[in-house]
């Protein structure tokens, strides 16, 4: 039976292409994690509970969407979590200096853009491998945040600003709506427009892309800047949720963000992947993390499990691509 299926699939490349895809692993994992967490607590059958559990992860989810694009184009950005902290601290600092809310938000987001632009320029102009460079800026940006804020919590925001995670449309928290709409828009751009297609081409073969007249460096520069912008937005959202900005916000969040992208079946070497996978993987992380907390699994053990999942996700994705597209 299995053999018959595999022969049938090999004769139908289009069907094979659709059936053997790593995103399905994410979908299956999502179903499994829902079933497992239902054993822990009946709350996991409650959509409102899941939605509420999701709000703290929306900031990561937004960045995971952009990181998906970056990884598809063959690069990586590990400075994302530090950019959340730095932009939040800058936002808090300028607000407390009396700049007013709209201007402070703008400055926070713009500082993210600058951080991203800096990453982008060093990667495209000086040809520094992004994995090394962004490990460097991961430390650098966190360091600047610490220098700016020391160990203080920057608070004092108006009450309307605090607690975006408690604002709802129906049962859906506003951050979840922001995340879903953003995923839909970026997913559409990636799958259906020429800009999206060019990301895949760049990730598949940057040389050929250059010789085909695709502005490889410019596109990568934009992606890194965009990553900074969204980190800035995430920085402001996090500050709203926590009511304070601190230098050690989102410490270690790179792991979860990269995990979302990898679980979603994006190929670590570039050229393959999509937003749907990352979107599904976001919910896996939400349910797992909430499940861990309900099951009272210690935070240290949670990291072990997440780290192991990241490695398994990468291995599975590579394996599936090697089977479906030789």
């Amino acid at each position: 039976m299995l053999k018959k299926i595999s022969i049938y699939l090999s004769e139908n490349p289009t069907l094979r292409y659709w059936i053997i895809r790593p995103e399905w692993v994410a979908v299956i994992l999502l179903i499994l994690s829902i079933i497992a967490s239902l054993q822990l607590s009946p709350f996991f059958g409650d959509l409102a509970f899941i939605m509420d559990s999701a709000t703290p992860y929306v900031e990561y989810g937004l960045i995971a969407i952009i990181l998906t694009l970056i990884i598809i184009s063959g690069e990586i950005d590990l400075s994302i979590a530090s950019m959340i902290a730095l932009t939040a601290v800058i936002f808090g600092t300028v607000y407390n200096a009396g700049f007013g809310m709209p201007l402070s938000v703008l400055i926070g987001v713009l500082s993210g853009a600058l951080c991203g632009l800096f990453n982008g320029i060093l990667v495209t102009k000086l040809k520094i491998p992004s994995i090394i460079l962004t490990i460097g800026t991961l430390t650098l940006y966190r360091g600047i945040a610490q220098a700016l804020a020391s160990d203080f919590s920057l608070g004092g925001y108006p009450s309307w600003f605090i607690g975006i995670d408690y604002r709802y449309v129906g049962i859906i928290p506003i951050p979840v709506i922001i995340f879903t709409v953003f995923a839909l828009i970026v997913g559409f751009l990636l799958s259906s427009t020429i800009y999206g297609k060019q990301l895949y081409l760049i990730g598949t073969n940057p040389q050929t892309a250059k010789y085909s007249g695709i502005k490889v460096d410019k596109i990568k520069l934009l992606l890194f800047t965009f990553s900074g912008v969204i980190s800035g937005v995430a920085g402001v959202l996090t500050t709203s949720r926590l009511a304070v900005a601190r230098f050690n916000m989102a410490t270690g969040a790179e792991l979860e963000i990269v995990l979302m992208v990898m679980l979603g079946g994006t190929y670590i070497f570039g050229g393959r992947g999509n937003i749907f996978g990352t979107f599904v993987a976001f919910w896996i992380v939400v349910i797992l993390r909430s499940g861990f907390n309900v099951a009272r699994i210690k935070i240290e053990s949670q990291l072990t499990i997440l780290g192991a999942m990241l490695i398994i996700a990468i291995i599975l994705t590579n394996y599936i691509y090697s089977k479906s597209q030789k």
């Binding site: 090999s10 490349p13 297609k197 060019q198 598949t204 073969n205 892309a209 250059k210 085909s212 007249g213």
Partner: protein, 495 residues
């Protein structure tokens, strides 16, 4: 060692690419394999060298059945494959490349540098190569790298050498050297399988020839008992005449579209000047490494130049990137198909339309998949590109079909200047003559074409004028009427 295969067959994703191959190879013979792209010869040698495992059939060595399931198993059985494009570790030394994977001792032994350097020197001098084994590979010519691969095979005491189109990246002079070595190995009893598309070469080196077509072994003959016409007939079932240079109306108008004035790129080329007219095919001849590709890439904006001017339609231009060049109507079909020509794991359709983003999308950037299929299938049909569907990944196609896709991609962009860098490398006779026809048609429609080729007959039968380069400089621009293989070679080699 006698090699014999019985009913070898191979199936890829349900497609039968090789059927019932019964093949013999004797010591001391050069056995040529010929066939169109996709005929099965590459698949066959990949089976012999352990890259692929056969779906059916058996391999016998000296009447003993053997299994060659990995490249290492092939080497243990004395079979070595010399790749078309040398596969070397460019940052390691020549000696390390030769002894890669089979140095003395176990995995924890120290490297016996003296021994491997000495042995390397001995092997290299036995094939007449004067290279210090301590040199690193980087910077060596393709011909030298190929020789070093052969040296590697010799160091493993290989008895069977498979050479997959070894001459295609070489200049005629280097081919001569290679053949001296092949003859020497043959005399020592080595059995050699030699794949080539060049019949003259096969005639001068091979004892027997085996012809493949569409996955079948058609026939094996002694080379002196078969004519070229017969070989071609077995390969494709039709005959190919020599073509002459075709004049066209555009050329008579004498309209210069590109004028290159004394451009230099330090270290690579110096004082390059030439004109290119509408409807002209301008050949670039010279040895590999003469700087032809660098000049082409510079005109296309992929590399910078240090001095000189380039005029396009009488305006001074400087292409800072391929993007800028493409906007002006330049197109470049690169020499290195795999690295710069194709998007391997991307569908054929998307490869072909990658040069025309604006034509396959609306003003918001939304892709019209119907247009993608329509535009690409026009050329897929026109050039008879063999595939299962437009969504098939381009890396699954044969080399010749990939090349047709790349040319289609650039023709879609309607270039006014088309630069072809070794466009027929690794392409079979049938596709080659199709390409010649396409090139002539384009010129007749007014496209100005720069044709870089290491095959002199190709340049002579296509180019109206021939620029000969040597060590980064133009030594002569010949008119087709005064050019012969001898005159071109003279200017390519002697200053």
């Amino acid at each position: 060692m006698n090699l014999y295969t019985k009913n070898i067959g191979k199936t890829f994703s349900g497609v039968n690419v090789l059927r019932n191959v019964n093949f013999t190879l004797e010591p001391g013979e050069v056995h040529a394999l010929v066939g169109e792209n996709g005929a099965g010869k590459s698949t066959f040698v990949k089976i012999l060298s352990g890259v692929y495992t056969p779906t059916d059939g058996d391999i016998f060595l000296d009447n003993k059945k053997i299994k060659i399931n990995t490249p290492i198993a092939a080497q243990k059985n004395g079979v070595s494959l010399i790749h078309q494009e040398p596969q070397s570790f460019s940052h390691l030394s020549v000696a390390e490349n030769i002894f890669m994977g089979h140095m003395d001792g176990n995995n924890f032994s120290r490297v016996k540098w003296k021994d491997i350097n000495k042995s390397s020197e001995k092997i290299l001098s036995s094939i007449g190569l004067k290279i210090d084994p301590k040199n690193i590979m980087e910077g060596l010519s393709i011909a030298d790298q190929q020789m070093i691969e052969i040296a590697g095979a010799l160091s493993k005491n290989s008895k069977i050498l498979i050479m997959d189109e070894p001459t295609s990246p070489l200049t005629p002079n280097e081919v001569g050297k290679l053949f001296d070595i092949v003859n020497q190995l043959k005399a020592q009893g080595m059995a050699i399988i030699f794949i080539s598309h060049r019949l003259e070469e096969i005639r001068s080196i091979a004892n027997r020839v085996t012809i493949f077509r569409d996955g079948d072994l058609i026939t094996t003959q002694k080379i002196n008992e078969i004519t070229n016409e017969e070989i071609i007939k077995y390969m494709i079932g039709r005959s190919i005449e020599d073509i002459d240079v075709k004049e066209n109306d555009f050329l008579k108008k004498d309209e210069v579209i590109l004028k290159v004035n004394n451009i230099s790129q330090f270290g690579n080329f110096k004082n390059i000047s030439f004109d290119l007219k509408k409807g002209e095919i301008l050949g670039f001849a010279g040895l590999v490494g003469a700087g032809r590709t660098e000049v082409a890439k510079t005109i296309f904006g992929a590399e910078n130049y240090d001095e000189g001017d380039i005029y396009f339609k009488d305006n001074i231009i400087s292409n800072k990137s391929p993007y800028e060049a493409i906007q002006k109507g330049f197109a470049y079909v690169p020499e290195d198909r795999k690295q710069m020509g194709i998007f391997g794991s991307v569908a054929v359709e998307d490869n072909i339309t990658s040069s025309i983003p604006n034509e396959i999308s609306n003003k918001f950037g939304l892709i019209d998949t119907k247009t993608v299929t329509l535009k690409s299938s026009e050329y897929i049909n026109k050039f008879n590109i063999v595939l299962t569907s437009g969504r098939q990944l381009i890396q699954e196609l044969s080399g010749g079909n990939q090349q047709k896709c790349i040319i289609s991609k650039w023709l879609l962009s309607n270039p006014s200047i088309l630069i072809l860098d070794e466009p027929t490398r690794g392409v079979d006779v049938g596709v080659k003559s199709e390409m010649y026809e396409i090139i002539n048609q384009l010129a007749a429609m007014g496209t100005a074409i720069i044709l870089i080729s290491s095959e002199l007959p190709e340049i002579l039968s296509l180019a109206h004028r021939i620029v000969v380069m040597r060590e980064g400089q133009i030594t002569k621009i010949l008119d087709n009427k005064e050019a012969t293989q001898e005159t071109i070679m003279k200017f390519a080699i002697i200053s």
